[in-house]
């Protein structure tokens, strides 16, 4: 396959999903994430970009045949193998279930909790406390599901694992200290198993799990 292009800003966890999937499928993707090829905030506002990607959002993907797609889950799906997508209707539905779960139940509370510790959002004590409880609930659901499983769907890595690992990444790096994540042993095992897959490591590198819960960065 001649190179296909992924437009994004640097270190975008949403772009990591497609890059990890491509490690499994062998899809060759060149990432344009900095000037002069791509300048976030400018290039994605040009008429040329908006003509291809009307929302102007990244990550955005352009195939070698001019096929264009936005929305990170759609891009990750496109560069995946049948195995990652779920090779039976049941497996594919289960993959979709966990991918949607990541967006609807993990991303909002994770962002509410983590962003103030990165100094990019004002801290709100009440919202953070609610977010912590939401994260505890989410980890509890995953822990129950992973009690008897190595991966989320079937016996191998799928887009479900890739999506949820990427959605949980900043939580595990910033705020899930040993005390908070202690009760969720199955999730911790699963998370580390995925991180240690060569295809994840090739994209995420060495991920240091949080040792001390970051507080909001006043």
């Amino acid at each position: 396959l001649s190179p296909q292009t992924l437009y994004t800003y640097p270190e975008n966890w949403r772009a990591f999903k497609a890059l990890i999937a491509a490690q499994y499928s062998g899809a060759r993707i060149r990432v344009l994430s900095g000037p002069p090829q791509f300048h976030f905030g400018h290039t994605n506002r040009t008429p040329q970009f908006l003509q291809k990607f009307p929302l102007g959002k990244v990550p955005a993907f352009e195939g070698d045949d001019g096929f264009c797609v936005f929305e990170s889950n759609a891009i990750a799906y496109y560069v995946s193998t049948e195995e990652l997508r779920g090779s039976t209707p049941e497996a594919a539905a289960a993959v979709l279930q966990w991918v949607n779960f990541a967006d609807s139940d993990v991303v909002p509370p994770a962002s509410t909790w983590v962003f103030p510790t990165l100094g990019i959002l004002h801290y709100n004590k009440q919202a953070t406390e609610v977010a912590k409880e939401e994260v505890r609930r989410v980890l509890g659901v995953l822990d129950g599901h992973l009690r008897t499983r190595t991966f989320l769907v079937g016996e191998r890595v799928s887009l479900a694992d890739i999506s949820l690992v990427c959605a949980l990444l900043w939580l595990y790096k910033q705020v899930l200290d040993p005390a908070f994540r202690g009760p969720f042993g199955n999730v911790n095992r699963w998370f580390l198993t995925c991180l240690n897959q060569p295809q994840f490591k090739a994209v995420l590198g060495e991920v240091q799990l949080c040792q001390r819960m970051a507080q909001f960065d006043a």
Binding site: Y9, P10, E11, N12, R14, F40, G41, K57, S104, V107, P108, P109, S111, T112, F115, L118, I120, L121, A127, V130, A131, E134
Partner: protein, 31 residues
């Protein structure tokens, strides 16, 4: 810092409020 870009992503921070309100509304409707 790369994380500054995160704010450009559309995140529904208030989602839990809407989910709770919708759940309570339909629980009452079906009460």
């Amino acid at each position: 810092m790369a994380v500054d870009y995160f704010l450009h992503d559309k995140i529904w921070f208030e989602k839990y409020k809407y989910d709770d309100a919708e759940r309570r509304f339909y629980e009452q409707m079906n009460g």
